[in-house]
Symmetry: C2
Subunit: 142 residues, 2 copies
DNA sequence: GAGTCATTTCGTCACCTGGCGAAATATCGT
DNA sequence: ACGATATTTCGCCAGGTGACGAAATGACTC
């Protein structure tokens, strides 16, 4: 059954009412990503990242493209959704957390996925020792 | 301590991630209101409405002005906040629930507050028998 | 001071959310 | 078929959310 505009708007805000999902959307603005790339930046369990991506997909904010066992997540193509997200992230351009994420992601994109995504990977092996996120679980001692 | 842009944005979306709070904000766009006017439209307990207004105030979306035992709630004056809310409600202009709310509110604004706000008021005494909200608690049989 | 009133706070309950590890699923390489 | 891999689902836990009625608060009237 078609949902009302109000109900859809509530779902939109619910999807964005979480720092992790905002960080994911911010990263996707620079191009598509797989779960393990996102997991590497966020320092969360893959199951947690997968759950968040599920929320974003149900809210119509991201779409997925499967290639074998790989799943490529990207921002939704819909112009209206893009315009909403543009407005959201225009206000977040200078946020420190998002800038740290972007910097780390830039480095991680240079690593072949087959190497980056091994579950036993230690980022230190790649010469990358990302600072823990500014807040959130699994925060390690600096 | 100053919160980050990301944290503030999360709070903004959390505040809007609820149909009741969106309805309240929509109603406030036509002018300031007291708790009992909002309560009359929403058909929720006054404590519930007060709690939602508290959320909106903490998110910086509404401000209050006390006049004796009356509290007048209005949208925040900040231009940036106003612009965000304009964007939100531009997409909701045709929503049925919000239109019903606006119609009922127009009628209620003609009723003196001293009469409207008596806790023992039965809206039927005013010749107003609002349809129950399209969804939500305390929904009565039609 | 007592009673009334508008509003807020408190405590409770049912339900939801977000984290995790373990298990399951689907795909790929051998 | 088996092992490996990326990803998703499940179950659990702690904490949060949104509804309510009752009580409390502060202002007003007498």
């Amino acid at each position: 059954m078609t949902r009302s505009a109000l109900a859809l708007r509530v779902e939109f805000h619910k999807a964005l009412a979480n720092p992790v999902r905002l960080r994911i959307l911010a990263m996707l603005r620079s191009g598509s990503l797989c779960v393990c790339q996102i997991t590497a930046v966020l320092r969360l369990a893959a199951s947690t990242v997968s759950a968040h991506l599920g929320e974003l997909r149900r809210a119509g904010l991201v779409s997925e493209r499967k290639d074998g066992r790989w799943v490529e997540y990207r921002l939704a193509e819909d112009p209206a959704t893009r315009a909403l997200l543009d407005g959201v992230f225009r206000d977040l351009e200078r946020d420190g957390q998002l800038r740290d994420d972007a910097a780390l992601l830039t480095r991680l994109r240079t690593v072949p996925l087959e190497r980056l995504c091994r579950v036993d990977l230690d980022l230190a092996q790649l010469g990358i020792s990302p600072r823990p996120p500014r807040s959130g679980p699994r925060q390690e001692e600096r």
